[in-house]
Amino acid sequence: MNVVVVLGHPSADSYCAAIFERIILALESQSAHSVTAIRLADEKFVTAMSTAERVAYETATPLISDETKRHAEVLLQADALIFVYPTWWSGLPAQLKGWLERVFVLGVAFRFNDNGKIRPNLQNVRHIIGVSTYGSPWRYVKLINDNGRRTLTRAIRMSTGLRTRTMWRGIYALDTCSQQQREEFIADTAEKIVKRLEKSSR
């Protein structure tokens, strides 16, 4: 299974990055998977869609830079997408949001059918898995609305089709979590993800 794992946290020594690295390690130890790790900050991935890209977005060839072309190729081969990011202001960090805007374009995430209606184009993606850290407690996240989660499991899922399964792992009230809770969350998350992807690659 081709698994694409994306890190949305800027620092390599963050807790988010630790979760990310553990997931990569756990998946790479399984011979059934081929893993592509995308560290957006390390790659210096450009956050905002540029004017030229916005103009190209409306055309049949929206991918105009090497970095977006490369990521689009990876996406079109992916069987599973895993997002690891910190929830900021109840949503995705800007760089991860920018990745969606710049790479999930016509011919990658969607296409038009003969009647000019939008149709999903990432039907190869069978799993969307999100792992996020929250500063706020669970209750508060639910009250405010988990907007990052909704963007990934609903808006992006509309581009992958209804067969796509989603899975969510969140660690809440991170500022008051003990070291032990953090470590348990990492181990547990890696294990559950491996299990989920194992079942369907059989």
Binding site: M49, S50, W89, P93, Q95, G98, N147, R150, A155, T176
Partner: protein, 198 residues
């Protein structure tokens, strides 16, 4: 007479959103509102919150002098009007990055020792208005759970005044709209925003 901070985000000058911006600025200025317009793309604002800046998360705003203007604007205004296109059901990365970077410790919020929820600091802000366009229909956005709307009406609003009101003015289905639909939107948008600021 409202001190209004207008955050405008669209990469293409001449876009429908830029027409909305002009219509709103014109109307508000004519009706005695004090408007500060911020055009994030034109200013080349960098929406990326870097690792170094993230390390300053719990420090006072003086550690980030490059954002002094944003801090001053946030503390000055009584209302914020956001004008932007909705992409992937939410705020464009440029706008999300502006919030990520500038709604900082001691400006927008404080975290008391031992607490896990932040407390509001932008009590000067009593109105939030989002003026946006959607390619898809209202129904599709509702299925997606309205992430963009809720970032503004809930997540950031709780850092403003207790009585702060959030208004949502959206043009849905712009991809299938007619010229007449869009002209109608432009003709009334200034007035609708002014009413939301009352």
């Amino acid at each position: 007479m409202t001190k209004t901070l207008m955050i405008y985000v669209h990469p293409v000058e001449g876009s429908f959103n830029s027409c909305v911006r002009d219509a709103v600025v014109k109307y508000l200025s004519k009706h005695d509102h004090e408007v500060r317009l911020r055009d994030l793309y034109a200013e080349n604002f960098d929406p990326f919150l870097s690792a170094n800046e993230r390390a300053l998360h719990h420090t006072p705003p003086t550690t980030r002098p490059e954002l002094a203007r944003d801090v001053e604007d946030l503390r000055w205004c009584e209302a914020i009007v956001f004008i932007y296109p909705t992409w992937w059901s939410g705020l464009p990365a440029m706008l999300k990055g502006w919030i990520d970077r500038t709604w900082m410790n001691e400006v927008a919020w404080v975290l008391p020792a031992g607490a896990n929820t932040i407390r509001p600091r932008l009590t000067n802000i009593k109105r939030l208005v989002a003026v946006t366009t959607h390619g898809s229909s209202k129904f599709v956005n509702a299925l997606q759970g309205e992430p963009g709307k809720r970032i503004i009406s809930r997540s950031i609003r709780v850092m403003c005044n207790k009585l702060c009101r959030a208004r949502w003015i959206a043009l849905y289905g712009i991809d299938n709209s007619t010229l007449a639909d869009r002209e109608k939107h432009l003709a009334t948008i200034g007035q609708r925003v002014a009413r939301a600021l009352r």
